[in-house]
Subunit: 255 residues, 2 copies
């Protein structure tokens, strides 16, 4: 039987600890091709590079048996687009993105380069999973999550995912997970997001920061609740963003 082919990307860059850990784990399931940004692209969402050429550099120094590595000057979505059209010898059996340093639960999914790459893989018909860890550290102990990361990837390799549906997996930073919960995306948003940056030329300049406001902290079926209570979260995400319930409300706008 042909070995599985697994494409890996992230938004923290090809040298981040998270993607190296993810590569190590995926090598237990098949051949791995990494195409990842050449440096950090945090908060890249599903951005694409329209105004400059994107370069792709073979990183033989990072390779090993069954592992091929490329660094790309573009965004995480660019990486997936390039990988699928210019790098992979055939359509991968699985795309995994991460392990992101920082969670992508609740509304953070909208800003996430990790998940932007996952949407892209999903759109192109590749079963796709994003993994993120709620941590501020660049050096983490990923061992509490290793078994679940492999178990979820293996499930998706065996069962596939529904058309245009991908997975957003998040972990809390704990020594031992309370468990894994399949759950929905919680409602929340970031508040108090800017601090003024001193600037020698007197310009108005600001750094993005912020505090997450959970808008439904008591609902136990959300990703954010799971993370807050020591569980990993697994959320199915669909590409179709239509709000079907609102279609009748808007009927007066047909003209």
């Amino acid at each position: 039987m042909e070995r599985k082919l697994i494409l890996i990307t992230n938004d923290d860059g090809v040298q981040a600890q998270g993607i190296n850990e993810l590569s190590r784990l995926m090598l237990t399931l098949g051949d791995v091709i990494v195409v990842a940004p050449d440096s950090a692209r945090s908060g890249a969402a599903a951005a694409i590079t329209c105004t400059q050429a994107v370069t792709l550099r073979h990183r033989v120094d990072l390779e090993q048996d069954h592992l091929t590595v490329y660094a790309c000057s573009g965004t995480p979505v660019d990486c997936v687009k390039l990988a699928l059209e210019q790098v992979c010898p055939r359509r991968p059996d699985l795309l995994v993105s991460g392990i992101n340093h920082g969670d992508n639960a609740s509304c953070s999914i909208h800003y996430s380069g990790t998940m932007g790459a996952v949407f892209e893989g999903c759109m192109k018909g590749v079963p796709s999973v994003g993994y993120s860890l709620r941590t501020l550290s660049h050096h983490c102990d990923f061992s509490p999550y290793a078994a679940d990361i492999v178990r979820i990837a293996d499930f998706v390799l065996q069962q596939g995912l529904p058309q245009d549906v991908c997975l957003n997996v998040n972990f809390p930073e704990v020594a031992r997970l309370a468990g894994m919960r399949v759950c929905r995306m919680g409602r929340g948003r970031w508040v108090q997001e800017w601090i003024s940056a001193n600037n020698p030329r007197g310009m108005n300049a600001f750094w993005l920061t912020g505090r997450f406001l959970n808008q439904e902290p008591h609902n136990e079926d959300t990703d954010y609740w799971a993370l807050d209570h020591g569980y990993g979260s697994i959320t199915p995400i669909k590409l179709d963003m239509t709000d079907y319930e609102s279609l009748p409300l808007l009927a007066p706008l047909n003209f």
Copy 2:
């Protein structure tokens, strides 16, 4: 009665023709504050700026009665975050983004800076609408769409929108619209996306391009069908990307 306050942004930059046209139209409905990128940010999606300070510059040269204008060094989402927290004297009654030069129908919504800004406004509780025109030109005749742009904005000002739901409005480039259709987001994706860029140093370099593949060209209830047949499209979009139908399928992953 207090005048309505309308926040405007875009991803083509503060000097694009589309945002100036949109400002002109919105001034018929209330006071306008523009906070837009200082140059083009096409394909920025909901990206945020994490690694540098963002500057905000007052553009008094572009102002007129009831119109305040700022240029921002960040992404469209940064513009909305800065506008709401640092610029607007109160929560705006409406956010409009665009008019984008290029449509954001079907899967293109995921890459769209125009719509990234709309998601952000929606997340912050401001009724939010994105407008896009299917054109490759930087100089367009927006007059066929003016009445519908105002009519939709006025509807949203009067009726509001459901919580966490925003609108994606797209127009075809026509002398006269066949009409406006409230419709869902169609299935599609971009293919043949890269052309090789000659490079003097022998690097692998590529330009992003591509051809849109409509995966359901015969379904008349999609945004893409509307545009292909001379109609404008109005699609309600929700921030909650959970695929509720898949939750039971994933139950084996609870652990």
